[in-house]
Symmetry: C2
DNA sequence: CTCTCGTGCATTAACGTTAATGTCCGGCCG
DNA sequence: CGGCCGGACATTAACGTTAATGCACGAGAG
């Protein structure tokens, strides 16, 4: 798998007795080159299998045509989809993707930011760990356009693209209320991120608007266990434990809204073990609409996150910023999620028969 | 978020009245520099926030300290984990990761290979689409060490790291047989990849060893639907349709071994709709041990793939090759999967009480 | 005292590309 | 016929770094 080193513009120039510059211009389609010469150069480049050296090109051009993508955990289906969407869009615009997986570690995040800086990325799309903002302030400080994804760091004033989590949680909660729930509990991760704070706010708003109380203990925290090596979503297990404790409490809530569909899995198991039926004994509403959620028994009502749209919007915002320089008013784009109604909240006995159950 | 351009070695050299080379050597810890000077340089670099330019460094060093990672679909939990593992290991060795998502498209794959080539990656880890081998032959041809992951292209003779799919399917099938199954059906994707061929071989071997027939129709193909934009695992739906057809056939198999745990979801739904119970009426064995599989009702017996180990082994193999040059005998590493026994194959009525059911 | 050697830095060259100037030459215009 | 213009190419410089070599100076040995 070895042999010959790469050919350069100089190699072609020498065999054709031309100058390096002429070869460069001939290949890149600039004018000032005769048709005969251009054809000759092209043929020779083809013959030796010339591959331009992006490093040299980027160095002189001052742009690496590379975007940094900083993600906490690809095993989160939302981020997995995000990666796909961003990679596709970036490549369509001629950009390569430099990936950093932080695994929720501030240390890795800081080193990742430094690495992107050294690599002269044209811009970065970042899901911050949200402990410290410094690494990204530094990146922006030296003129690297940066878009924050999913978790905002308002202190930075950077463009931001995310899901409207407040709205999502509101929809979920309001839906449960519409289906007759009066006491509702929320299960959320214990990460200090805006995402979660917004969801809790949405939950409270829905409850308040319906005139329902939000007693202490309505929001339950699920501890995040960090694995030693590489991010594994061990979240269902943690949620299961928390749910088991919840079910051992005297009074049960009518519905539980969980922070992500993994949690719903743990909750389902706990409910099943207690002989409780979904949705008859308790309604469950997820967050994320993960690939499996539609196929659970019962199928999970959940808030679908527009991962692809969030991803491509982030790329667009970033490219816009790369092209035009920083906008004076950084844009914040919140993309609305949509509630997908399934069996985990379908009331078992319809109260009236005047309307058919809504299909799909 | 804008202001001052990046400082270079030259900036530091000029303010300190030193030569560029001295500054370079001082910062990189080479000897031949006085202690006083070194300290001065370090302080000044710190003061102006000097960031070395990797592009220039790579250009002169001839190595970009970058690995290419080519993946078909991050939404496949196996690949998602793989990305985490590989990124972690690569970064630990000082390499950055350039990500290409092919989405099973030969065209994107070819362009991705070209892109990696232009970027002068130090090496590449590739899950090939497995239509054409050319792009990767080209990459190796110009001396870029390449390790194939999960899907082999034997014609290339490149190092390969993967799961022992033959063994996995054998274990799954043998397990079903041990639990009393006599007629078994396999559901596999319709991709022309070695992975799947090997699994089918393992299935046949288990059946043959047990003296069971493998009638026509034992291996059922599930069509892969490609989404227009970005890879979304729409596989449960497709498996569901195929399973529905299967269940409408007259005689039902005792067990179904599916090619990935998404398929098990679709199968579960079809079975549920037909009023069939798992494992009483039919056993189900998955492949992948996805994060949700343990939490299905009933929990899914499945072949756990050692994603992290596969990933880090691939990186190790690649780094070895980068350091020592291509080995004369390219190494093929098959990592054994492990069968995780759960409720979807637990016989409802133990035949003998002499042995307790095996715990976890 | 001279010769040699080593220390500490400067100078030069190189990586492969693109951009900015230079130069030659043929043709066209007045 | 002289001057001028522009096409087609060459030459030079630059991007920011590292490696190879050059050079001055002081110390130690004979």
């Amino acid at each position: 798998m070895a042999q010959g080193r790469r050919h350069t513009l100089r190699d072609i120039a020498e065999t054709l007795n031309l100058s390096v510059n002429t070869v460069s211009r001939a290949l890149s389609g600039k004018d000032g080159i005769g048709d005969r010469t251009r054809a000759l150069v092209r043929a020779e480049a083809e013959r030796v299998g010339y591959v331009p050296n992006t490093l040299a090109r980027s160095l002189v051009l001052g742009s690496a045509m590379t975007l940094g993508l900083v993600i906490t955990n690809p095993s989160n289906p939302f981020y997995a989809q995000l990666i796909s969407g961003i990679e596709l869009r970036a490549r369509a615009h001629g950009y390569s993707l430099l990936l950093v997986v932080t695994d929720e570690s501030e240390e890795i995040e800081a080193r990742g930011a430094e690495s992107l800086l050294r690599s002269s990325v044209s811009g970065a799309i970042v899901v911050p760990v949200q402990g410290r903002a410094d690494p990204w302030r530094r990146l922006g400080g030296v003129g690297v356009p940066t878009v924050l994804l999913n978790r905002d760091l308002p202190e930075l004033g950077y463009p931001f693209v995310g899901t409207d989590n407040e709205l999502g949680a509101y929809q979920a909660t309001a839906h449960a209320i519409a289906r007759g729930a009066r006491s509702i509990v929320v299960l959320e991760e214990d990460l200090p991120i805006t995402t979660i704070a917004n969801r809790i706010a949405g939950f409270r708003r829905a409850m308040t608007e319906a005139g329902l109380p939000v007693p202490r203990g309505s929001v339950i925290s699920v501890p995040t266990r960090r694995l030693e090596e590489a991010a594994l979503p061990w979240q269902p297990e943690q949620a299961y434990r928390v749910a088991r404790r919840l079910l051992r409490r005297g009074t049960l809530p009518d519905a539980v809204v969980v922070g992500n569909d993994y949690f719903a899995l743990g909750l389902y198991r706990a409910l099943h073990e207690h002989g409780l039926k979904v949705p008859a004994d308790m309604m469950v509403i997820g967050f994320g609409d993960y690939p499996f959620s539609e196929f659970l028994q019962p199928s999970l009502t959940t808030v679908r996150l527009p991962a692809l749209e969030v991803g491509s919007t982030a790329v667009d915002l970033l490219l816009e910023q790369i092209a035009d320089g920083p906008a004076e008013e950084p844009r914040r784009q919140l993309i609305a999620p949509t509630l997908v109604t399934r069996d985990s909240t379908r009331p078992p006995i319809p109260e009236s028969r005047t309307r058919p159950l809504d299909g799909h």
